[in-house]
């Protein structure tokens, strides 16, 4: 019989945001390395244009995509959930690119590679979020992670940067191995790596007694892999070192985009493929959430370096987001969809917040990217009242004070948790937020209530990033309806 290989149909337009990013990244790396140094801001301009085009295309796709669509032979799943995450990631990346531009200029190391790596990381992230297949997801994860390792180690003048990169690389390798092993186990039980097929196998009435241990092992390994990526306690040990060691704008990039990607994929795998086994994995996620919330907040308080503080605070935020997943796990409950939508809203809000926060830290850190202790913020309010005010708004938002986006995020998650009657978890989460508030207060005390002579220079691009971040924080805080209805339509 004469068989002809027939490739799957490819909907090019549906892939356009990804393709634009690939084009931009390759163009930057290829053309950038073959041409002499571009004029100031040239690389950043290309990167931002690429991101802008991708955001616009994603916007068109959002309007087009009412029903979920399977792409390239079922390997990608395009739905509003994915597009929402995509846009949030790209906006956060765009803001990071702006900060990066000023940072590289200050350090005198403007080059195409950092932007290329940022875009590559984003491409990996996009693949991971769109993935409808665990293998595709793994490919995305690796692309994302490798770019992160390089970005972390990219400051050659500071030894801590290289050290952090190495640490991240080694531990990240372990995590990837866990993830892959989990995929293999699940494939062993279900005979597929496709999310829907896995769901179909587990959702059917067929008794799985024989494969149960293997399945649970697979789920556990998968969870460990994800837990490492989103830095849940006890898989968080890398986070403070990497956040501290990495060049500050890249820390902001990793904190925002890394979180969105890993959580979006985590929620998708667990609520789609493993939905039928929710009763098995919910207790584990519950425990992880509680430990993460408490340990993250408590350890944040005793740090003296702002980047380390924010690392622990990001761990605590991860615990909060996990509360949303616990709520989402109560399938069949009419309020379970709140879990997914509140998780996505939290991610989008947190990403914008954290990029802005790290933009301020970048500015304060000064040449050499070294002044990141709490003391470096002393007297900031006296010399730069606007910058201090912006940072105060961002920190209050992270603490979850009302009329800021951070409160909207926290309220949404708490509401989802209470909706499925997880009262204990909701209370633990809120109390953890109170503990974490102490750390934000410490930074504020340094800025407003301590004497010091901090002087910083902020470039235009950084100012735009901070301004957008603060504006988003306040607008969403006062009028959250638009964001909430967008987030509701993803679940």
């Amino acid at each position: 019989m004469n068989q002809v290989f027939e490739g799957p149909a490819i909907e090019w337009f549906a892939l356009s945001p990804l393709l634009v990013l690939v084009g931009g990244a390759l163009g930057l790396l290829l053309v950038g390395s073959l041409t002499p140094q571009w004029p100031r801001g040239g690389y950043a301009l290309v990167a931002s244009t690429t991101l802008g085009a991708s955001i616009v295309l994603s916007g068109f796709l959002w309007v087009d995509t009412v029903e979920p669509r399977l792409l390239i032979g079922d390997s990608l799943l395009l739905d509003r959930y994915a597009i929402f995450a995509l846009v949030a990631m790209m906006v956060a990346t765009l803001m990071s690119v702006l900060t990066t531009n000023d940072y590289l200029e200050r350090e005198g190391t403007d080059a195409p590679e950092p932007y290329g790596l940022i875009l590559t990381a984003l491409i990996g992230g996009v693949a991971m979020v769109l993935a409808n297949d665990l293998i595709v997801m793994f490919l995305g994860l690796e692309t994302l992670s490798l770019s992160f390792y390089l970005l972390t180690a990219s400051d050659r003048k500071r030894t801590t940067s290289g050290e952090a990169g190495l640490k991240y690389f080694i531990l990240g390798g372990f995590a990837s191995a866990f993830f892959l092993y989990g995929v293999a186990m699940i494939f062993g039980v279900s005979g597929s790596t496709n999310l829907q097929s896995i769901a179909a196998v587990f959702g059917s009435e067929v008794s799985l007694t024989a494969g149960d241990a293997m399945l649970l092992a697979g789920v556990a390994l998968l969870l460990v892999g994800f837990a490492f990526k989103v830095s849940l306690v006890p898989f968080h040990a890398w986070t403070p070192d990497v956040y501290q060691g990495a060049p500050t704008p890249f820390t902001g990039f990793m904190a925002s985009v890394g979180k969105i990607v890993a959580f979006a994929a985590l929620v998708r795998v667990f609520t789609v493929a493993l939905a039928a086994r929710a009763d098995d994995w919910r207790p584990a996620v519950w425990v992880l959430a509680v430990i993460t919330l408490i340990v993250g907040s408590v350890l944040a308080v005793v740090q003296s370096d702002v980047k380390r503080m924010l690392a622990y605070s990001s761990i605590s935020h991860a615990g909060f987001i996990l509360v949303g997943l616990v709520a989402a796990s109560h399938l069949g409950d009419e309020d379970a969809s709140l879990g997914v939508s509140s998780t996505m809203a939290y991610l989008a809000i947190y990403a914008v917040l954290v990029v802005g926060t790290f933009a301020v830290v970048t500015a304060v850190a000064g040449k050499g990217d070294a002044a990141t202790s709490v003391d470096a913020f002393k007297g900031l309010a006296k010399n730069h009242p606007l910058l201090a005010l912006a940072m105060t708004v961002l920190l209050l938002a992270q603490a979850g004070v009302p009329l800021t986006s951070g409160f909207v995020a926290k309220f949404g998650v708490i509401r989802a948790a209470v909706g499925v009657e997880s009262y204990a978890l909701a209370i633990v989460a809120m109390l953890a937020a109170v503990i974490a508030a102490f750390l934000y207060l410490r930074i504020m005390v340094s800025m407003w209530l301590a004497d010091g002579e901090t002087t910083v220079t902020t470039g235009l691009a950084t100012r735009i990033t901070i301004g957008v971040s603060v504006a988003a924080t306040l607008v969403i805080g006062f009028f959250p309806d638009v964001l909430l209805s967008l987030a509701r339509s993803v679940a």
Partner: protein, 514 residues
């Protein structure tokens, strides 16, 4: 039934009460460094305008009305069933007026000494938050205001306070926020549990209170969640430890506001959200709350007696006074509840004035240690005179405002909480003890060298204090206008409690005025 009737004035009065200070705060913050003289002017205008609006509310408020007046309601976050729902009834009316009047007095009368611009901006933001808390008829909206108040107060204590200010400010912030954490979960749970009976997810206080009856167990849990937040705010023993620190370290203006209106957010919350939303649970929890309140009364009084710092003494006296208010609130009789509401306002006036005078002493002597002050009466008789009147009002001397509330509370609570009242009465005597003893040590005797040059009251200070003294005397001699407006709402609240629980008031012996 407590409905939302509305007195139409064709003008969003209550919304303006919140927005005017908010906008004023933003304006003050935006004034350039080259125009320092506009800063104070803007702040004064904004706060005086707010005061005028609050007086307008008082004048237009129909006496005898039991429902919510001047209601304004607009959808805010429709995704979550949250609306901008403001209203004022007899219970909140005088707190709103007190807030409206206290802020301009503090802004005009108390000098922050440095960085006037941010100080005034935070003050006005604080005013907006406090106003909002007293006016909100939506659980979410209330929480937003209740919580947002922390930020300006934190900065006021931290930025303009005394030596231990950062510690005190942080303690205040975290303590209150921890209490609110429980309330937030409680609020969300309330909305979800009420969803079935109300028909949709809403955070509207009136809709939930009228149409839903929580099961006994869940009602009690929710009540506890709310109460933790309010008990911290009041503060109720044993959650009071933030208060002496915050009061002692806060700048004078901050202390006045803290004692005058901020603490009332807790007692007001207990009435409006505790008793009104969860009548059954309020009845159930009474013994515990009585006991804590009475411990607070006695403990606050004894601790106050022992203080060496005059400001700390006044702070502990607040713990005792607020114990009376809590006792009266949960006594659930008409007289006691009316007394509590009246006492909230009166305590704000007299303790606010006491803090003002302690601030003046500190300005003159740069110490608040009782041991270092002596014989002030001989060198500053007018000063001592004002202090005496204010002190006596705080002690609860008949004829001054403090007596009205305290007496109503004790009389009203006797029927339902007899033995606790007996214990609380000891607190009344102790109040006389610690204040008079402090007065004796500070004002009597021959002034030593350091105190001999203690300056007499200045005209500006005298005018400021005269306002307080006028209020103290008026409310003490002629409390009828106030009682007339408070009573109907209190009656309605008690009817609501009786309709939603097994509780019945002890057979009425007539109203307060008879």
């Amino acid at each position: 039934m407590i409905g939302a009737t509305s007195t139409a004035v064709g003008f969003p009065l209550l919304t303006m009460l919140v927005l005017v200070p908010l906008v004023g705060s933003a304006l003050v913050a935006l004034i350039g460094r080259s125009r320092p003289e506009w800063v104070k002017l803007t702040a004064i205008l904004a706060s005086v305008f707010t005061a005028a609006l609050s007086v307008w509310v008082l004048v237009e408020f129909p006496s005898g009305s039991a429902g919510f007046e001047f209601v304004s309601r607009h959808p805010w976050i429709s995704e979550w069933g949250i609306s901008w729902h403001l209203g004022v009834d007899g219970i909140s009316l005088f707190l709103v007026v007190l807030t409206g009047l206290l802020f301009p007095l503090v802004i005009i009368g108390v000098d922050p000494h440095h960085n006037e611009k941010p100080y005034l901006a935070w003050m006005l933001l604080l005013e907006a938050g406090v106003m909002g808390s007293f006016l909100s008829l939506d659980l979410f909206l209330f929480f937003v205001f209740f919580e947002i108040v922390l930020v300006p107060m934190y900065f006021l204590i931290g930025g303009w306070g005394y030596d231990q200010r950062v510690y005190a400010a942080t303690k205040f912030f975290l303590y209150t926020m921890a209490g609110s954490a429980f309330m937030l979960v409680g609020i969300v749970a309330t909305a979800f549990l009420a969803k079935g009976e109300v028909g949709r997810l809403t955070f509207d206080l009136l809709e939930i209170a009228e149409s839903s009856s929580f099961s006994v167990a869940s009602g009690r849990w929710l009540f506890v969640a709310f109460m933790i937040a309010f008990a911290v705010k009041v503060p109720l023993f044993p959650l009071h430890t933030w208060l002496p620190d915050a009061h002692t370290q806060a700048p004078t203006g901050g202390s006045v506001i803290l004692a005058g209106v901020l603490l009332k957010m807790g007692t007001y919350g207990m009435l409006r959200f505790g008793v009104f939303l969860f009548p059954e649970a309020s009845v159930w929890a009474r013994p515990v709350l009585y006991t804590l309140a009475v411990i607070g009364i006695l403990y606050g009084a004894i601790a106050a007696t022992m203080q060496r710092d005059l400001k700390r003494l006044v702070a502990y006296s607040s713990v005792a006074h607020l114990g009376f208010i809590v006792l009266g609130t949960f006594a659930l009789t008409e007289q006691a509840l009316t007394g509590s509401v009246v006492q909230m306002v009166n305590h704000g006036v007299s303790t606010g004035a006491l803090f003002l005078m302690v601030g003046m002493i500190y300005e003159r002597r740069h110490t608040r240690a009782i041991a270092e002050l002596k014989g002030l009466q001989a060198v500053a008789p007018i000063f001592a005179g004002f202090f005496t009147v204010i002190m006596l009002s705080s002690i609860g001397l008949p004829g001054l405002n403090g007596f009205v509330g305290e007496f109503l509370i004790l009389i009203g609570s006797f029927a339902t909480a007899r033995w606790w009242v007996v214990a609380a009465t000891v607190g009344v005597i102790l109040a006389a003890l610690y204040l008079l003893w402090a007065y004796q040590r500070v004002f009597h005797g021959e002034p030593d060298e350091a105190n001999a040059s203690f300056p007499e009251l200045k005209l500006r200070e005298g005018l400021l204090l005269s306002v307080f003294v006028a209020a103290i005397v008026f409310a003490g001699v002629y409390p009828k206008p106030m009682l007339e407006r408070v009573e109907p709402s209190v009656k309605a609240l008690l009817e609501h409690v009786e309709a939603h629980s097994d509780y019945r008031q002890p057979v009425a012996k007539g109203g307060v005025n008879e």
